[in-house]
Symmetry: C4
Subunit: 292 residues, 4 copies
């Protein structure tokens, strides 16, 4: 039994298995796309879809058999699990909702391609770094919305009627789309209304610019730090150690030499070795030398 | 008295206090937002607003008690002070103005969140760096405005009537919004008018591009210089000192060795001392050596 | 014969030859441009075009004579070959197609200017790096298209009728062009339709931003790695070797010194040799020393 | 005379002089701006303008007196010279032209502010680096224009009538402005026309992106290379020399030591000298040693 399970694990983790699943996912995507054209192919597409879902269920079952509880350690598996469950629930409940959630199956491409998983993870990791700037952007936009609604709300309700409308308007302005229309509508009653728009565009553009720059700089630094930098630091350390080792060896040689010299023309008070802090007393050998 | 003041300071500087204030600020923002929808909730919102202002006043009072004059050393406090004062002034003067300045209270989020304060400071610091490029941009836009007004002012007054109108038109063109409309309006009387717009778009885009690049490069350099760079420099210095110390020790050893050798079996031509730290007295052995 | 071929090769590879061809290519481009104005010049332009094609054929022939099979090793030559062949085929087949493919001749500027070839190669090399992010972008857009078609397909067929239409609409939205029009059209039946557009714009912008950043970071790193970095690594290596060499020399000196000392005044406990390269025979001097 | 000239030079190069001129230039700009509003101030503005021009002439004269030929070594001075000459020529020729060239006087701000001169120079220097990519962009746009004119010229003459019109249309598309309108106009007769626009937008965006990245990377590298890099290289060199010097000293010490040892207690097999710089004559002491 254990053996069979290990075999399943082996198969599930094999290259061809994941590739096959990727193909199935892409077929499913194509089917969903084709289905948007309706026409006579519809019934066949429905069948195809059923088959795809069946394959997904089998895949899920195999993975559960292979990894058991381990399956749920990976959040990506949670996503796959959720998507498949959604697909098999009979569409008796609110139909449109389930039909719509089918599109999530296309996103399984991301879970099926490791590189994409990496990128998504990277995106989520880079989030906190941008958090403050995005927060600042939201504060500014919100403040501008309240301000705009109070200034123009009564005269231009279609754009500045309430908070929601104004936020939508300001989002549109942030994409620099149709903002002159809003500005003109406002200008009729507020000759200085242009200041609001110009100021808003300049400030938000400036913040967004800083957001982008921040991200680039952070990314660069991490890249450098983890990559070339560490490498260089290591190299320098290695070289440094090599030099220090060689020097230690040398001083060892010299110390030994000095020991020898002392022993051969031995002086009693040469107890302490040479190296640091070795003051040399007057030479006792001399007299014995005079003998003869 | 001093004690009670220190207690106040402790409280004012405590984590929970600032968090509470942040919550109050956010509530205030929500209230202002809700108020834009008018409706029956209005009176309650007015009450809520009064309460919020009250809290702000208390906070201000506590901080003034705690820090006294020190309170005004931080420009951010000036901002808070100004905002609160605005809020408590009875709205007898030009009403709309005061109602509008209420939105500044939302910006207190920035003073309440340290990270945001940091970013804002960073933005202001990065200003001078961009100053020249922005100045250049303004000069170019201003020149283009004068030029455009002189060229098209008479024929297309709605866009190039006077300096103000033209500047507004050119700002719109800079956001690449509706510029073909202006160009078409001009084209009727000026077949070569397109050159003005194309040239203007190319030049301003180019300057803005250089502005962005400049900011990125500067940011990167500061980042690197303050971070990895300094670190690396320090490391290299440490390693260097280690090597030099080891070398000094070695030469000390050798010098001593040489002193010993000379003392014990002196040679005639060893008049000059060896290296540093090798003070050698004249050799007494030599004569006795000649004996016999 | 070999000689004449080498002469041809020399000529074909000469500076003036490539420059001449560049001029011809530019003339051809000018002719094609002029031809768009039709008018009485048409017949002359046709002649000019014929001449240009003739020159291209001659160039091709010369290169084939000069390099023979080697000619087809460079993909750029394949492009040139294809372009010329297209030009000489009599336009009896579907005329418009051939007339249209004539424009490819303009792109010969790229094959004629080395720097441009370099850039194009760089672009293609940088492709794989961006591959995953672009893939992610496509997945997101495709999913959004399926979703949009299912949500709004029935009510706004002109924008979300089927997959193709929806993809085109979403591409337009990605250029932030006219998206409010789509949003308004949708808003009539779907009050929450704005969420789809805002979400789509935010997500795609975010992915594109990450794409750009990724490219910049990668480019920077390669630049640094290949350029300054390697240089620095080399310098450090050179310096390191110099130090190590010097140290080896020193230890060699010391070792020899020590050999000498032992030989001359042998000490009993000097059993172990000193440093490397200091093999010491038993001391012959000693006995003579004991004499007296 | 020489003295007075040196005085003039001193004045012309003084801080207050350039500042005064800057003020005059700004006044001139303000006057030109005010003039666009016409009205009763006109005559006074004309007078003000005359005065400004007068000041410029005086400035020019002083500089010519001070620097003589040297004045024309700086291209910026050429610009100032040209601008002033333009201003003094009686507007008898084509009037509008001269009135228009007056705006160039505003650009004198750039020549008056050193930082701006620096930036402009930097822009021009960075040009060649981008040259190839810009060239590539032009080739692509030109090719697309020829292609577009051939494909849609007959059916949509208002946008693709001839080369000029098409180039203008494609420039507009590149600013992603109104491109859907062009696409719709084309779509009537060319159901696949969207491919042309989508392809064009993608390709040009891609090239522009690479242009930006290229500029950033180059700028960064120069920045780093000239700044931190050189500094680091220098530091490393200094440290390296220190170590090598110390090592040389050491080996000198050892060499001397070895000379001494050989001299004093000579061993037969110590024929070869130790290290460099240790030339040792055969030992004279030895015989005397054997005595007794």
């Amino acid at each position: 039994m254990v053996l069979r399970r290990s075999q399943v694990a082996q198969m599930v983790e094999s290259r061809w298995f994941s590739n096959t699943m990727l193909v199935v996912i892409l077929i499913n995507a194509a089917v969903l796309g084709w289905a948007t054209y309706g026409g006579s192919a519809q019934p066949y597409l429905v069948v195809a879809e059923r088959i795809v879902v069946g394959v997904f269920v089998v895949e899920l079952a195999l993975k559960l058999i292979a990894w058991r509880g381990g399956f749920f350690r990976d959040p990506w598996n949670w996503f796959d699990f959720f998507v498949v469950v959604i697909s098999v629930i009979p569409a008796t409940g609110p139909f449109s909702v389930l039909r719509i959630l089918r599109v999530l199956r296309i996103l399984r491409v991301i879970t099926a391609v490791p590189q994409m998983r990496t990128i998504i993870s990277a995106l989520f990791r880079s989030m906190p770094g941008m958090g403050t700037v995005i927060g600042l952007l939201l504060v500014v936009v919100y403040t501008a919305a309240i301000l705009g609604q109070q200034l123009f709300g009564d005269d231009v309700p279609q754009y500045f009627g309430d908070l929601g409308t104004t936020l939508y308007t300001l989002f549109t302005v942030m994409t620099t789309e149709n903002w002159p229309d809003f500005a003109d509508a406002v200008a009729e009653d507020h000759p200085l209304g242009w200041m609001f728009f110009v100021g808003y565009i300049v400030v938000t553009t400036f913040i967004v610019l800083n957001l982008v720059i921040g991200v680039i700089v952070t990314a660069m630094e991490q890249e450098v730090e983890s990559g070339l930098w560490a490498e260089d630091q290591k190299l320098e350390a290695v070289q440094h150690e090599a030099v220090m080792a060689k020097l230690a060896e040398l001083s060892e040689q010299v110390a030994r030499l000095d020991r020898m010299v002392r022993d051969h023309g031995g002086d009693p008070d040469a107890g302490e070795p040479v190296g640091q802090g070795a003051g040399v007393a007057h030479d006792p050998v001399q007299p014995s030398n005079g003998s003869g």
